[in-house]
């Protein structure tokens, strides 16, 4: 008898783990589709004043993405290409393509609270972490992501608050190894685009730094429209800069 209960219990655990994995997968799909095009505005609050940037982003799968800055005028035309874990940047002012070396990867991207690493390693949420449901309230699920033993990620854990109606998160909290909060993402204004749901307002903030955050407003989102392969070549950096 007890054996049967144990078996049921174990299989339930498995089910739950599978369920968690399923949720994370769907969440991840919502963020990228097969391919995704976004037009967005980024606002950065830094030392009491706000800076605004606009850009267009094209990405396909987890390994290819292309970003082009459209505003402010002084940065217009700067393009980024990340491909298979490498990252290049083209700056029209200096007419150069620069490969971002590994030592610069954890630099803040364009002065925001997002690092180059965040952009390049988007995929890792599914591959590098073991998800576990820690709370369930109706359609709201809290999932804890613990890094797999040898996953090359710095976070001690990530806690996501997901609405399973839309498979979008409302808040992701990143912790260090000792379990202390380091930074969090907040997502709001979920919108349905085709078969996908996506929050159109994001906010990134460090947990212990006041008066400094980065906000992202999605102005346009298109899923699974065939993005030309042209965007994911080094030649695109210059070509689509204009």
């Amino acid at each position: 008898m007890s054996k049967i209960i144990l078996i049921i219990f174990i299989s339930m655990l498995n089910l739950m783990a599978d369920e968690a994995r399923e949720i994370i997968k769907k969440l991840d799909e919502n963020f990228r589709g097969k391919s995704i095009y976004m037009k967005l505005e980024m606002k950065i609050l830094f030392m009491g004043h706000e800076r605004s940037m606009k850009m267009q982003s094209y990405s396909e799968g987890t390994k290819k993405s292309f970003v082009k800055i459209t505003y402010p005028p002084k940065d217009k035309g700067i393009t980024f290409l990340s491909l298979d874990g490498q990252m290049w940047q083209y700056v029209p002012k200096i007419e150069r393509i620069i490969k971002i070396p590994s030592s610069m990867m954890l630099q803040k991207w364009m002065g925001s609270d997002i690092t180059n690493d965040d952009i390049v390693k988007q995929s890792s949420i599914v591959e590098d972490y073991e998800p576990k449901i820690i709370k369930k309230e109706g359609s709201l699920v809290t999932i804890e992501l613990l890094p797999k033993e040898n996953a090359p990620v710095v976070w001690g854990k990530i806690v996501l608050n997901i609405d399973t109606k839309s498979y979008t998160s409302s808040k992701d909290i990143f912790y260090d190894e000792e379990g202390k909060e380091v930074r969090y993402f907040i997502y709001e204004n979920v919108k349905k685009v085709g078969n996908y749901y996506i929050p159109t307002y994001w906010r990134v903030q460090s947990s212990d730094v006041e008066g400094r955050y980065t906000e992202i407003f999605l102005e346009e989102v298109e899923y699974d429209t065939k993005i030309s392969e042209e965007y994911f070549r080094k030649s695109a950096l210059k070509r689509f800069s204009k």
Partner: protein, 403 residues
């Protein structure tokens, strides 16, 4: 006859007991102080040189031609395993290790820092330079993506045993790769570069991570005291950058030179003054006994016996001083060799120069032999002038003289 002279010399030495004792104490104190000074200075330099050789450069290191200018994966030695085999059968080579290195970024959730990933073979490093002796905390072990970090790097990133870190760098194809590593041990090599920026992992893991093969290495480090080895290797590998320890660590070369000069100057000054001390005492003691010697000469004792007696006297004094100094010095040195001098008050600066906070003395037989030579020489020289005065004496006049 000589037995008698020896006896006389011994007795005469203690005729003026306090005086002789003062000279002996002088020799003993200054000699032991000097020995300690030499021992500590030598210890300082030796320790530093030794640790540097063991932890990094060996006696000779070989790099690819461009590597030291541009530490890039492209500038690696591509047939390192062959060279290693060749070196191992070269006469004069005691140990060889291959090392794989890559510069990149080491990060935790909160902080990141530039660091050098160094792939090593623990067993070989142990043979090469007793790597385990650098251990400060934890266990030396690379199991399950284990890593060993330098003590200063650990401080910068607030790492502890068990901490997880991520190292990112470009692999051989130029792709940026990351690897998770678990800190198993913290080491202090007192080699500033390593303590501040090194993270050691297993060499095979490093190859896998960087996409290199076991034929590749950034550095081949060689132990071997043979003086001709350097020239020989330089000729054998004209297409590689063969560097001797002192070329790689010129600061150390300078320190060594300065210490040698310094110790010799100290030695000369101290021995010079010691000589003046012995000279004064011997001079007075001989002149006091001019009458005595006059009587002995007029009784038919040949001058050479008197000379022998005086020489013996000064040697007795010198020898006793030397023995006292040697014993005292040896005791102090042995103490300092074992327990060292604690200079933790200056630990920041010491570490910056690669010293340890506790300085241990070295003991070399040469300290004792050179001082022995110097003191005996000083003793002998000190009686030459008084002796020449005696030789000139007319015995009859001496006895007559009322002094």
């Amino acid at each position: 006859m000589y037995k008698l002279i020896l006896k006389l010399a011994w007795k005469n030495s203690f005729l003026r007991r306090v005086r002789t004792l003062l000279v002996i104490i002088m020799i003993a104190v200054s000699m032991s102080m000097m020995l300690v000074l030499e021992g500590v200075y030598d210890g300082l330099v030796k320790n530093m040189v030794d640790k540097n050789k063991r932890s990094q450069s060996g006696d000779i290191s070989i790099f690819a031609k461009e590597y030291r200018v541009s530490r890039d994966l492209a500038n690696r030695i591509k047939n390192a395993d062959e060279i290693k085999a060749q070196l191992q059968s070269t006469k004069g080579v005691e140990a060889v290790v291959l090392r794989v290195k890559a510069d990149g970024l080491l990060s935790t959730a909160r902080k990141s820092s530039f660091a050098s990933l160094i792939g090593i073979d623990l067993k070989e490093e142990e043979r090469f330079g007793k790597f385990s002796e650098f251990l400060k905390e934890g266990v030396i072990d690379f199991q399950k993506q284990g890593a060993i970090v330098g003590i200063e790097l650990a401080k910068t990133l607030k790492l502890r045993i068990g901490s997880k870190v991520v190292f990112s760098t470009q692999d051989i194809k130029g792709e940026i790769n990351s690897i998770a590593l678990h800190v198993r041990a913290i080491v202090q090599t007192t080699n500033i570069g390593l303590d501040k920026g090194a993270i050691f992992i297993d060499i095979n893991q490093a190859h896998k991570f960087l996409g290199t093969t076991s034929q590749d290495a950034m550095q081949i480090a060689i132990r071997g005291e043979d003086r001709e080895l350097y020239g020989k290797l330089k000729r054998a590998f004209p297409n590689l950058d063969v560097k001797e320890f002192l070329e790689l660590q010129p600061m150390m070369k300078m320190m060594q030179d300065v210490m040698i000069i310094f110790n010799s100057v100290t030695f000369l000054i101290v021995m010079g003054v010691v000589f003046i001390g012995i000279f004064g005492v011997m001079y007075v003691s001989i002149l006091e006994r001019v009458r005595e010697f006059g009587i002995m000469i007029s009784l038919g004792m040949p001058y050479r016996y008197i000379r022998a007696q005086i020489f013996l006297e000064s040697i007795v004094v010198g020898l006793l001083g030397y023995l006292a100094g040697a014993v005292l010095g040896a005791i102090l040195l042995i103490y300092l060799e074992r327990y060292g001098i604690d200079l933790s008050a200056f630990s920041d600066a010491l570490e910056m120069w690669g010293y340890e906070a506790v300085i241990y003395a070295t003991i070399k037989v040469s300290y004792f032999t050179t001082t022995f030579g110097a003191i005996i020489t000083a003793s002998l020289l000190s009686v030459i002038i008084p002796l020449s005065r005696i030789k000139k004496l007319n015995p009859i006049e001496v006895i007559k003289a009322d002094k």
